[in-house]
């Protein structure tokens, strides 16, 4: 996590980032213009590892929730709906982290925050109210069944998003 020399392109063109922000339309900026807005992508360096781990969790949570809902939904509807919800959150986080642009940044922040709240709330409920939450979800016991990675992931995600936050818009813009 040391300072990386790979962002000189931002330094050489200090005017670029703010003016780009003014032109708005974050979605279009992502694919077409490719290189210029280095800060507006989060899919390089450590971000690639983060996205890869999110992708694995998206796949496993989706498969698990699908399996639970298809085979034994009536046993514990709440827990299995929670599983499905977790799966959706992981999918959204994976896709939004891989995309560039301001809008996707906001989607990422929202998804990762929801994930953090989810793992904390579901984790706490599964510990203190084990009677009503006996059925496993990814977030049960703070993700113990998954080596606590579900608890670690949103924290690392927020750190990464903060480090790669888009340049602020000029104050006069609004």
């Amino acid at each position: 996590m040391t300072a990386k020399p790979s962002h000189e392109d931002i330094g050489t063109t200090p005017g670029a980032a703010p003016s780009d922000a003014v032109t708005g339309s974050p979605d279009a900026a992502g694919d077409a213009s490719a290189a210029p807005v280095g800060r507006d992508t989060r899919n390089t360096g450590p971000g690639r590892l983060l996205i890869a781990v999110y992708a694995v969790f998206a796949i496993s949570a989706t498969a698990r929730a699908g399996y639970q809902i298809l085979t034994k939904f009536s046993e514990a509807p709440l827990a299995y709906l929670l599983s499905a919800f977790a799966a959706v959150v992981y999918l959204v986080a994976t896709v939004s982290l891989a995309k560039s642009g301001r809008t996707w940044f906001k989607v990422s922040v929202a998804a990762v925050l929801v994930e953090l709240v989810g793992v904390l709330v579901v984790g706490a409920l599964s510990v203190f109210d084990a009677v009503n939450f006996p059925h496993e979800t990814v977030w049960s016991l703070f993700g113990r069944g998954y080596a606590f990675i579900p608890l670690l992931l949103p924290i690392l995600g927020l750190i990464w998003l903060y480090r790669r936050r888009p340049a602020p818009k000029p104050a006069s813009a609004s």
Binding site: T44, G45, P46, G47, R48, L49, I51, A52, V53, A55, V56, I59, A63, Y67, T71
Partner: protein
């Protein structure tokens, strides 16, 4: 736990250690790390062929068969996806992505063994 699991245990752990070391040494993905992941892929393919032979020979999977095959096919796709994702951007971080393959395959192989027996 059967021989298939132990093969993946060894290749998975070796691959993860190699890729982690390469990442810590700030190297980009190279032949060594990519081949170590390929070894994991080969052991998974051996598991696939072996399982097909066993089922064809009349052996029963104790758990849900489609759950077993789902795990196995997903595990087989993982190394391919990780190598693709890693060579798109050849930095040290891609080696950490590759490192994740070994442990993930290992965990999935353990689960597959549980389902089978």
């Amino acid at each position: 736990m059967d021989a298939y699991f132990y093969i993946i245990l060894v290749t998975g752990l070796v691959s993860t250690v190699i890729c982690l070391a390469a990442g810590i040494l700030k190297k980009a993905p190279n032949d060594t790390t990519i081949l170590s992941v390929a070894a994991v892929e080969v052991s998974l393919l051996v598991y696939l062929v072996g399982s097909i032979v066993r089922v064809a020979g009349g052996e029963q999977i104790a758990g849900e068969p489609w759950e077993f095959w789902g795990y196995l096919l997903t595990a087989i796709l993982l190394p391919v996806g990780a190598v693709y994702w890693a060579i798109l951007e050849r930095t040290r971080w891609s080696n950490f992505v590759l490192a994740a393959v070994g442990v993930t395959a290992l965990v999935m192989a353990a689960r597959m063994n549980q389902i089978w027996y």
